[in-house]
Structure formats: structure tokens, C-alpha cells
Symmetry: C2
Subunit: 141 residues, 2 copies
């Protein structure tokens, strides 16, 4: 079986990527909103779900200025989703830890995403592997 379409050029692929990622972001925002969170707050919880982090390293991961993280964490801490702890080795550093409620919130959002993103279910195992490989090539980790 052979495709009868011509190879898409770089511009077409960029437009499709923009559209696809935009759709993904809309879904993520909606999933976050279903837990009463913004996309940025949900992303922050996702990062801290993997491992606790300092304010500094969180700012690097979120690629935003450190001054922004203060406000983001303030709002999450006010809702008992995140806890600030003082580092035992460097008293300047705050270690950010997810509370049990914070873990529950991000796990719920992640489940919601798996329910909503039905497009991925249309792919065969072989196609999933190929999409994974291609995206990793285009956006190296």
C-alpha cells in the first residue's frame, strides 16, 4: 500500500505541529480546570510528582523567572497541594514537596487526560512506536 500524497514541506509540518500541540494544550487546560487548577499549576504538580525540587530548579524546569515561582507556589501552598521545606544542607534553599492532596490532584488530571485523548487509541502498536520515535527525533529530550 502506498500513499498518493506528496511529502509535506517544513512549513506544513510546522503548522500541523502547532495545531496538534495547541489541541493537546487545550485538553490539558480543560483537565486542569476540572480540578480547579490552571495549566501552569497542573504542570508544576506534574514536575513535583516526579521528585521534590528547589524553587531555583523548578524555575529552570518551567523555563520562567524565579520570581514567578514564588507566586505559583504561594497559590498551591495556600490550597495545601504543595509544602515548602527548608533544606537541611543549605538554609537558603526551599525544598518543594507534594502533599497527599497534591498527588491526588495531579493523578486525577492525568487520568482525565488518558480518557480525553482518544486519538492515541486509533494507533496500532507499531504506529505508537513510530510516533514516539519521530517526536523524540524532532524534540530531543
Amino acid at each position: 500500500m502506498q500513499s498518493n500524497t506528496t511529502t509535506p514541506d517544513k512549513r506544513q509540518l510546522l503548522e500541523l505541529l502547532a495545531h496538534s500541540l495547541s489541541a493537546h494544550f487545550a485538553d490539558f487546560s480543560a483537565a486542569a480546570a476540572s480540578a480547579g487548577l490552571t495549566a501552569m499549576q497542573a504542570k508544576t504538580l506534574t514536575v513535583l510528582r516526579r521528585a521534590p525540587a528547589s524553587m531555583r530548579s523548578l524555575a529552570d524546569t518551567l523555563t520562567c523567572d524565579a520570581s514567578n515561582v514564588t507566586g505559583i507556589i504561594d497559590r498551591l501552598e495556600k490550597r495545601d497541594l504543595v509544602r515548602r521545606e527548608v533544606s537541611p544542607t543549605d538554609r537558603r534553599v526551599k525544598i518543594l514537596v507534594l502533599t497527599d492532596e497534591g498527588e491526588k490532584a495531579i493523578d486525577m488530571i492525568r487520568e482525565r487526560m488518558e480518557q480525553v485523548q482518544t486519538g492515541l487509541d486509533k494507533l496500532s502498536d507499531k504506529e505508537r512506536s513510530e510516533l514516539f520515535r519521530l517526536l523524540t527525533t524532532v524534540f530531543p529530550q
Copy 2:
């Protein structure tokens, strides 16, 4: 040649999509910033580059409330990148048209994106076609 990796599950694909989204958005924001624009302003110019649109339809395309569009267009119009015209058929409707300078700005950003997104250059024609097909399947237009 055969891959020795197992098929990624849905969660892994979702995480990769999130990572790709972040990387692409960071690149787009940087490209927009190089023209002194925010990502939202650049996206607005991208939409209007295809065809003029009313405030209402632009709000639908940007998936935000109509009240936001007023401010976004205010700022773009103040810099002579966009022009409001009154619709000849319905005097309530404003038609948004890109100025020559607005066209120049978004074309420059698009060129910058093509230079920056070098990941796509790593793909063969066949891989580009396959990525296009897979993304269209997962995120239908």
C-alpha cells in the same frame, strides 16, 4: 533493521506530547519575542495572515472569550500591525485586516521558526509523510 524497544504506552506518549509542546511553545515564544511580540500576539497574526476575520470568529479560533480579543487587537492596532474595518454588510461587525507591517512581522517570525526547528531536518521524506499522517490521525483537523 528492527527496534529493540517495547511499544510506549499511552501515558508515555502523553508525556512526550507534553514535552514536545513545551519545546515548541518555547521556540515560538522566542521567535515572537525577537519581533517584540508575545506568543498570543504572534498567533493572532498567524490567524489573520490566512484571511481577515471578525472579532467574533477570531475569538472562536483562539478559543478565548471575545472580551480578550478587544485588548489583544487594541495592542496590535496601536503598533500598526492590524487594522479594524467596519463590515459593509453589518455595521456591528469589525473586520480585522493585517497591515503590510503586520504581514512582515509574522513572515519574519515564521522564517525564524523554520531556522530554529532543526529537528524536522533530521527526518527523511518518508518519515515526514508518516509524522504528518500520524499527527493528523491523533489530532483530526
